[in-house]
Each structure stands twice: as C-alpha cells, then as structure tokens.
Symmetry: C4
Amino acid sequence: MADANNEHLVRSDDPQHPANLICELCRKFYTLGWVTGTGGGTSIRHHDHIYIAPSGVQKELMAPSDMFVLDFNSRDYLRKPTSLKPSACTPLFLAAFTKRGAGCCIHTHSQWAVLVTLLVERDFGADACFEIEMIEQIKGIPKGYGKQGYLGYFDKLRIPIIENTAHEEDLAETLEQAMENYPDTYAVLVRRHGIYVWGDNVQKAKTQCESLDYIFQLAVEMKKLGLPWTK
Amino acid sequence: MADANNEHLVRSDDPQHPANLICELCRKFYTLGWVTGTGGGTSIRHHDHIYIAPSGVQKELMAPSDMFVLDFNSRDYLRKPTSLKPSACTPLFLAAFTKRGAGCCIHTHSQWAVLVTLLVERDFGADACFEIEMIEQIKGIPKGYGKQGYLGYFDKLRIPIIENTAHEEDLAETLEQAMENYPDTYAVLVRRHGIYVWGDNVQKAKTQCESLDYIFQLAVEMKKLGLPWTK
Amino acid sequence: MADANNEHLVRSDDPQHPANLICELCRKFYTLGWVTGTGGGTSIRHHDHIYIAPSGVQKELMAPSDMFVLDFNSRDYLRKPTSLKPSACTPLFLAAFTKRGAGCCIHTHSQWAVLVTLLVERDFGADACFEIEMIEQIKGIPKGYGKQGYLGYFDKLRIPIIENTAHEEDLAETLEQAMENYPDTYAVLVRRHGIYVWGDNVQKAKTQCESLDYIFQLAVEMKKLGLPWTK
Amino acid sequence: MADANNEHLVRSDDPQHPANLICELCRKFYTLGWVTGTGGGTSIRHHDHIYIAPSGVQKELMAPSDMFVLDFNSRDYLRKPTSLKPSACTPLFLAAFTKRGAGCCIHTHSQWAVLVTLLVERDFGADACFEIEMIEQIKGIPKGYGKQGYLGYFDKLRIPIIENTAHEEDLAETLEQAMENYPDTYAVLVRRHGIYVWGDNVQKAKTQCESLDYIFQLAVEMKKLGLPWTK
C-alpha cells in the first residue's frame, strides 16, 4: 500500500529532523511561556518542504505525526493530519521563507512582547516601532537580510509593530509591508498579540527569538523602574 | 476476594486514563504555581465516573491510588482511599459537570487570579466581574456553553468574581449563581482565593485554564505599568 | 571492621528515608530559589536521630552521605562527614524539635520572605510581626502547636519577625523567644535573612513552607499594586 | 594516527572533568536565564589547561567536543574545534586566572545584573560601584583574594561597575583596572551587559555567582518597593 499521507516525511530517528525538532522546540517554548494554551507556533523549511505545527493543540505535547508538510513551490499540502487544523500562521511563516529566505520562523505570545507593544502604543503614539540601544544582548540580532554580521552595542535595535487583526491570516499583508518598511528586521511585533521571529536556520531563529524576548523583558522592567530605552 | 474498594477503577497503563491524567496534570500545575502547598484540585468526568484528587495532599506527588471516584448519578463514592479526605471542591466540580456538561474542572490558587480579584475589588467597587479586551490570547476561550467556536480578538472577555466563604463547599451556591448570571463563562474567579475553570474535556479545561492565567498575569503587569484593561 | 562513622544511618534504598528525603527536598527547594548559593538548610527528626544538611555546600547536589546525624537526647554527633562543616542552623532546628515537637524544620533564604521583613520594617516600625488576612492559602497553616486543625479564611495569620545577627547560631535565643511570644506560630521570619518553618512531619513542614512563601510573594505583589494586607 | 587536535583533552567519563562540567553548568545557567540566546560563557582552569566554551552557540546544547583548550603559560590553543569561534570573553577569563588565581570564571547576561548597573547609573551618577549591606546572602561572598573567610552580615558588599565597550575583548583593560581598584572583589559588573564572577574553584565560582544574582534580584525588587540598599 502506498504511503498515502506521506507518513515518511515525519518519521525519522534523527533528532535534527524538522518534524522532531519542532516538537522539541515547542516543549522548550512552553516552559518559557511562549506557547501557553494552544498559542504560538513554529515552522521549519527543509529544502522544498515546509513543516508546520498544527493549530489548536497543546504545543508541549505534540508528536512528529501531528506535523503538516507543505510544498514550498506549489503551496500544496504534502501531508495533512486528518484530525488537525492547519495553522492560521501559515501565510505569515511563508512570508518569512519567501521574502527573507528564512529556514525557520517562530511565533510566540510572549507576555514581554505583548507588554512592549502596549508600552510603545502609550508612549510614542502612532510610531509603530520598538526601539532600544546600548544593551549587550542586541548583539545577538543580525544586521539585516543579505548583510554580514550582527548589530553592534551602539546600534539601535528597531522592531516594527503591526496592528492585530481579527483573523491571524489577515496579518500577512501588514507583516509583509513591515518587512518592506524595515528591510533589516528579523522580527515583527504584533500589537496585543505577540511576535514573529525568523532566522536563516533553526538555531538562529531560536537564539534570535530568545535574545529579543530577553530584551523585551528587560525593557518592561526598565519601564517599571523609570529607566529610558534610548538616550 | 472481591475488589472491595474498586481498585480497578484507578489501575491502568494508559496515560490517558483519568486516574493517571490527574496525577500528570497536577505535576504540571505544581510547576506553574497553581497548587502550592496542598491547594487547588482537579477532577475529570469519565462517562458516569467522576475522578477527584483528594484534599490535603501534595498535588505533585499524588499516585493514581490516591484518587476518589464518585458515581455521577447517585453521587455515591465508588472508591474512597481510606487514609485520605475527599476534596472540599467536590460540589463545585459537580456544578461544572452537571450544569455545563464539562468533562474536566480545574481549581487553582494562581496568584495572578487572586491579584486580579483584588484589583477589580479596588477599581470597580461592587462590580464583581473581570473584564479585558483586545488581547490575542482571549481567542483561547470558547464563546459559551452550547455555542460554536471561540471568542474573537474584539470580543470582551468577562469572568465573574464571587466572594470567598469560610468553607470551600459553601461556594457552590454562589458559583452556580454566577453560572446563571454569566451563562457563557467557562470559569469563575473566587475573591482572594483562586479560580475554577472547566472545559468540555481535559485538553480544553487545561488550555483554557492556561489562557486565562496568561491573561490574568498580563492584566496584573498592565496594572503595574498603568495600562488599562479595556477602552 | 566496625562502621566507625555510622554509615548505616544514611544508607537506605527507601526514598522516604531521612537522608534521601533531605536531598530530594533540597533539589526541589533549589528550583524554588530557597537555597541559592549554599544558603538555607533542612533537618528531619527520625525517632531520636536528627538528620541535618551540611553547611556551605550546593544544596541541589547533596548526597545522603553528606548528612550529619545528631542524637536527639545527648546532642552528640552520631555521624559527621569528615570534610564537611555542620550547619550553623543546628541550634535553631533543635529549638523546633524540642520546643514544638516538630518532625522537620526548613530554613530558606526566599526573597519573598526577605522582602516581607523589609516591608514590615518600613511600614510598621518596631512591630516585628507580619500580618495578613482573608487569603485562602492561610488555610494551609495549622492553628497552633497542640491545637486541632488549620487557620480559617477569616483568621489573621501572624508570623513573628526577629532581627538578624552576625552569626546564625546566635539567632537561637531570639527565635526561642519568638516561639514563646507567638506560641501558635509554625514559623519565624528573620529580618533581611529568610525564614524558619517547621511542621509535625516532613510533608507538613514542606507544604506549610510553600503556603507561607506563596503568601509572602502575594503580599509583595499586593504592596507593589497598593493593596493592603489587612483591613 | 596522532590525536592532531588533542581530542583526549575533552574526552572523559568523569562528570567532574572540565569539558563535561562546563556543559553541565551551562545547561543550569540557561534555565536561570544567564546565557539566553548565545550570550554568556564559562571557563575552567584545570592545572595548566584553560577550558573555554565557544562563542555563538546555544549554551544549553553544548557538547564536550565543542570546548576550546588553551595552554595557561603559552596562551596557545591546544585544541580548537574547527567549525567554532573562540569566546571573546577569553582575555577576561584569563585576567581572573592570572591576577586572582581563579579556578573558574563565569560570565552571565543576567537581567538582574544589567538592571542593577542601570539603577546605579541613574542614582549615583559617576560612582561606578554597586553597594548593599545587611542582607544575609552577602555571607556567600569571600572577604577577598588572599584573605580568609567570607563577608559578614554587617559588611558592605561592593561590586565595581565598568562601562561596556563595542567589542567584548576590549573590556579586559578596564576589568583589570577594576580588579586593581577593588582588590577584594570576586566579580565585576559590566554596564548594560552583565557580570564576570570568578572563584577559587568551580563550586565557589558557581555559588558566588548565584549569591550575587540573588542579591541583584533582591536589590531590583527593593528599588521597586522604595527600599534603600544601604543606610
């Protein structure tokens, strides 16, 4: 009998296989508070296959067999777990893969990210961009797509903030617009919602997401203590 | 010899068996700070059997053999561990199973839930209801009992708050009243005490409880930062 | 050859054996932030044997062979690991065993406990007592030594605070005085230092310590939010 | 075939071997939030061999084979993993080994350390030193290099703060200057960056780092509550 639903695409003993890696990452993200409830999501591009965690499941309990697999070129599902729903983040993940050549994209509901979007709203009105400078951890963020190296300590980190929409998939257009407006960014904050972070590969997406979350947490604590984010 | 205390009801190799699942959930809830000391509790309905964690035990160390089992129809104990006390939460769990057809009910002493009840007290006087809107995680909460789907981003989340009583079982009446007053709610906050959250099944009760706790934590942090919960 | 250092006192396959239990508890306490660095300590009375964790070691890495064993009546060491120092908490643990018939005593450097002692200092001047009421978790604390049952929701929890001294063993006298002044208390806070909590047995000492820590954390957060501890 | 890259230096079944220990420590430091992203680092001196974690890797996922090994006297690399970059912290670790006879040096990006440097900046202007007194945990810090024993409860803890630079290796000079100015210190804070902590051996470096982090966290919370660090 043929492998009708392409089970072979998610079966591997290699812990670095995308189907295994998404499960492992999401277990870690759960302990970090990034994918509480069934929130957040993760996607990995592996050659022409896009692996995506399903919607509406407990992210820390996922199995490789829960993964959706999409063909990068045709956008057809190569594998669709019958009892699960595809992620509403799919068009946003695809934007990172298509427009930025990303190898992995992570979506979190981190409270630090959400609080930062609320603090910018209040402090800077319509200027939809989080800015901070002179924090060592900024050096964990690359200079920009197609550029060599990482931001320096004296560089200003700027992460665009887009407005949230009723339906997650409707964020795709403004997220792509934010990518155009901020061509160097590796992340887009979504007001009152969370963040999308991508990277050239899984390690970079994860460590950049961690560095940003660290910076957002620090920024919130700075605000509580009356310390400014920029000079 | 007969199985006098119905031991078979709590013996299973299946990790999804209610007696095993309550232990596993409570280990997780302990790390989340929901069942500190011997606080909080969890109950699962499995057909006509109600499984309930005992009172006054360390919730992260429970074994399946510690579980009480109640008959849903007769309200008789089918199984009573001799050295343990039944949970004072029992009538409140039963309210969720009876009046809302819940499959699982979780009671936590989460500090975020307690703080929210204190902040509503102070800010809104006698209005015993927590309200928040325009937070993505609200979409993790269903629209209401007998309704299809989940709250939207622009919907207002409303969780009733009842006053605490000297004895937990005495909360049953006001909790049932709150269910009447807020027919759509899947949770009731108890002032200076914690929260009861239920769901159609274990996964839904757990993820709804997580989503609410996330929202309460965010709400407390918003208050510290001077950010309003509603427009 | 004789068992010169009474090794048999700390060798057991039973996880409930005091030498094993202290190690297991301290691993848990480390993750709770109670025994950071080499701070804090734990002691269990088992019949006439007092088991005590050593001084100056990483509490999360202890082995049963690191335990000191003291004879309850003679106060002689039955077992002394040669390369380790006995705990400076020893006279304080003994006070709980002797004056309150405790089965276990836990000493933590919990930051919530320390902050509470600082907040009382500032708010109430010389009144060396932490007071809070109408918090459900208070029901996790017993009414008092020799009394039946636990505090009620409407009871006021009162934990005495003693001043810190240069040497930990010098706290014994004022700790015993606090026990006299507050005969019902199961804990004594030490200003700018931490807390001693005891209980009739290991489970009670641990869960009471957790309940108090929960209450202290809540009290600190309440203070940040401008919420009063008592009416 | 010869062991061209001195593989034997990082291969051992002994969990106390430096190459294994650095990996184990960094896994713990990751959960403490000290080495988020690829930040922070750890180095152990073992006789004339200096073991150093590489730059730019996920610290919680390192393997012994990722370690660099430097000869203490010649400063030549005895082992260089081909695909990894040596740590920019190397000259700073060497300062601790050379000028203070340290056996281990830990560099963290702890947010508590960073916040403390920001609070001193604001409160005390150009006085680049964190000061606190009368906190029991101070007793976890030694009196000074070449001195016997630990700080007392009534001693003032003073940790110098140096200004951050664009490149981590450029911190070496001011770090060494701070060691001269504060000959008793076992740590140097780096403004908007983190901290370097060393100790006579691994256990001391780790527990001193934990004690300092505890004190920094407490200090930040004290500031939020309006409590002074010194009289």
